[in-house]
């Protein structure tokens, strides 16, 4: 190995000599502002995979029904929603079968709120782990994103089965080619949840109040997103405001693709995508700033 003369390092000499790339790691008070550490995250991809696997495997250990809960839970929720909102409250569903309408809605909201609430407690619930060993903290929320995706996939499979059943029964649903946009819509939804989640998680390290806000906030948020009602029932005066919610066009687009109701509003989706990108970028920036010193304030 090459021997390098580095005996008396002072701030001055280092500044003069410069910093040859022989150090593997430099620990400094402040990282560069736009250092998102995505390369590092990629380096730790095996860890992300193992976190995903842990979340999934550990969740249903020592339960009788195991992964079957991934099916039972959404089915029951859908049933309750169908009974309460459709049969009792008589909220219209744009002519789509209420069961399918609510199954799709709960699937989307379940994923979004699940990722959002889980990632928003990243720092506080992993303080013990984070306090002992370094790895890119972003690995935790990103893993949450993927592990929730497994539940979503199971949910989606059952939704498609029911959809096929309804089609076979000659129901008026009209799935169309926009189904191909599903991956893109899912990515948007995941990024929105991640962006919001990491922002909240970063501030929760100082202001625990936010943990409480997230708790009931996600519930309230559901009512300003067309989950239990179609956007068409919203008075036109409010509809513009509703569309400002980045989730609204996504939910509507899903409905359009799978059920033929709702709308596929490309301009609104573009605005939504832009909003999500900004939220995500800001979120990750704040997150990577906070992760450097959050141990001092938890």
């Amino acid at each position: 190995m090459e021997t390098v003369n580095v005996s008396p390092i002072t701030a001055e000499s280092a500044a003069v000599v410069g910093d040859p790339p022989r150090w593997d790691m430099v620990i400094e008070p402040k990282g560069r502002l736009f250092d998102l550490k995505l390369g590092e995250l990629w380096h730790y991809r095996d860890l992300v995979y193992l976190f995903v696997w842990r979340d999934f495997v550990a969740q249903y250990k020592q339960t009788v029904l195991g992964p079957a809960w991934h099916v039972i839970q959404p089915l029951i929720t859908t049933l309750v929603f169908t009974i309460v909102f459709s049969k009792i409250a008589r909220i219209p569903t744009d002519g789509a079968p209420p069961f399918l309408f609510y199954m799709l809605g709960t699937m989307l909201w379940g994923y979004f709120s699940g990722v959002f609430s889980a990632t928003s407690s990243t720092f506080t619930s992993n303080a013990n782990l984070f306090g002992k060993v370094y790895f890119p903290r972003l690995a935790v929320p990103v893993a949450t994103l993927f592990s929730r995706l497994i539940g979503l996939a199971i949910h989606l499979t059952f939704f498609l089965l029911f959809l096929a059943w309804y089609l076979y029964q000659g129901s008026s649903v009209t799935p169309n080619v926009w189904i191909l946009a599903t991956p893109l819509l899912l990515v948007m939804m995941a990024m929105l949840a991640l962006g919001m989640g990491v922002i909240v998680s970063a501030f929760t390290t100082r202001y625990r109040d936010l943990a409480v806000v997230v708790g009931f906030g996600t519930q309230l948020l559901m009512f300003v997103t067309p989950i239990v009602y179609p956007l068409s029932t919203v008075p036109p005066a409010y509809r513009g405001w509703m569309m400002l919610n980045p989730m609204t066009p996504i939910v509507e687009a899903f409905r359009y693709a799978f059920l033929g109701t709702g709308s596929f509003d490309l301009p609104m989706l573009a605005i939504s995508a832009a909003t999500i990108s900004v939220l995500l970028l800001v979120g990750v920036l704040i997150f990577t700033r906070i992760e450097r010193t959050f141990m001092d304030s938890v």
């Binding site: 580095v6 150090w23 008070p29 730790y44 842990r54 495997v57 060993v133 202001y207 450097r292």
Partner: protein, 427 residues
């Protein structure tokens, strides 16, 4: 080999004490606003000394280098900044000022068991824990058999770790950490917990790592272990680097000597007089076999404790010099009284006591110098606590008293005694 693998430059870490967790948005806003205008934090209360009461510099302007293959012992009292230094090195928190540059992968044995999930099996946790510590999945798969073998819990490897005994848990966790193959290994006081067997494994691993030309940072309150395992040392106090040099010099610095050498003391240089109207202490020293004043001896060498005192009154008394040997944890190892106590005329005397080789255990001892008499009840004429400090070093080179065991040896003394082992007559 003078490759610097860790370069710490002007490292400082500042903590704001007090209402940190409960900080309100309004206070934060005030701080931010003051900061924007380049003013002092308006919420910091400053006490009379001009030092902000809510301020703590856990580390202040610490600089040192660690070269490849060195075993660096970091010593200091609680709150000296050792943990903060390790936290910065392991990147769980960022410094306030200065920087650290590192070459190679750092792993630390203070992370043992981090991220273990109780519901997962031993095997599953090896993967999870390994990945958290920075290993690739393929790397873990390759070393899996070795890790399981090393852990000694093969039989339970597919059992959830929540069913493990704490010993098994630690062994498995250590097995993972031990197979990280880092270029730089940090060993914290993890050695204080766990059983003797585990400590032995830790030390074995440390020695293996350092023999392989890699670097070890060792933080411990056990000065005896620092002394025998480390090549270089730093002594931190109050967040500042007090001493950097050989492990022994750092230990002796830590051992708290205010004077030049803790192994000797000259009472004439202390403003305070030690003694009463009968006895006055003059000096004390730890001497090696050649009669040189030292602060450290090998475990296989005899040493002498000497005390100079002057009898200035009541010469009819039988003044009894005695030495109290204390371990670094403060416990008294033993007290030794002068065997020859008889009345002596007024004047100066040197009382010297020889401590034979292979008698004291390794570690740091302090000596309390006392002169007592018993004519009118117990009367203490002169008494100086921790007058002398010296270190007994165990080179761990296969001395008979160790019999190949390389872990820490408990006890205040470690004599070599005569043994017989004979076959029993079988009828």
């Amino acid at each position: 080999m003078s490759d610097v693998v860790i370069s710490v430059e002007n490292l400082s870490k500042h903590y704001r004490l007090g209402e940190i967790g409960g900080g309100t948005l309004q206070e934060d806003f005030q701080r931010w606003w003051a900061g924007m205008r380049g003013k002092e934090d308006p919420l910091l209360k400053v006490d009379g000394s001009g030092r902000a009461a809510g301020d703590l510099w856990a580390l202040r302007d610490v600089s040192f280098d660690v070269r490849q293959g060195e075993v660096l012992g970091i010593v200091g009292r609680n709150g000296a900044g050792k943990s903060t230094l390790l936290k910065i090195l392991s990147r769980t928190t960022a410094p306030t000022e200065g920087r650290v540059r590192v070459r190679g992968r750092i792993a630390s044995l203070l992370e043992v068991g981090t991220g273990f999930h109780p519901e997962l099996t031993g095997r599953e946790n090896i993967f999870l824990n390994g990945a958290i510590l920075g290993m690739k999945k393929a790397e873990i798969t390759r070393k899996l058999d070795e890790i399981i073998d090393f852990s000694g819990v093969e039989r339970f490897i597919d059992t959830p770790v929540k069913r493990y005994s704490s010993g098994m848990y630690v062994r498995l966790a250590f097995a993972v950490a031990a197979h990280l193959e880092p270029e730089i290994l940090i060993v914290d006081e993890v050695l204080a917990v766990g059983d003797a067997d585990f400590q032995k494994k830790c030390l074995g691993k440390m020695q293996q790592v350092s023999r392989g030309g890699r670097t070890v940072l060792f933080v411990s309150h056990n000065l005896a272990m620092v002394s025998s395992l480390c090549t270089v040392g730093v002594h931190l106090a109050g967040g500042q680097l007090v001493k950097q040099g050989t492990a022994q010099s750092a230990i002796l610095s830590y051992a708290g000597a205010s004077g030049d050498s803790p192994g000797s003391v000259d009472f004439s240089k202390i403003a305070r007089r030690v003694g009463d109207d009968c006895i006055e202490l003059l000096a004390g020293a730890v001497l090696d076999e050649q009669g040189q004043s030292v602060a450290e001896v090998d475990i296989g060498q005899a040493l002498k404790i000497s005390m100079h005192y002057r009898i200035i009154g009541e010469p009819h008394r039988r003044y009894l010099p005695n030495f109290h040997f204390h371990r670094s944890d403060g416990s008294c190892a033993f007290i030794v009284n002068a065997s020859d106590a008889q009345p002596r005329p007024e004047g100066s005397y040197a009382a010297t006591c020889e401590v034979p080789a292979h008698f004291l255990n390794d570690g740091l001892y302090s000596v309390r110098l006392v002169v007592t008499s018993f004519e009118t009840g117990v009367r203490v004429h002169a008494d100086e606590i921790s007058a002398l400090t010296f270190n007994v070093r165990d080179p761990i080179d296969g001395v008979a008293s160790r019999a190949g065991y390389t872990g820490p040896m408990p006890g205040a003394i470690r004599p070599i005694l005569s043994w017989t082992i004979e076959p029993l007559e079988t009828a």
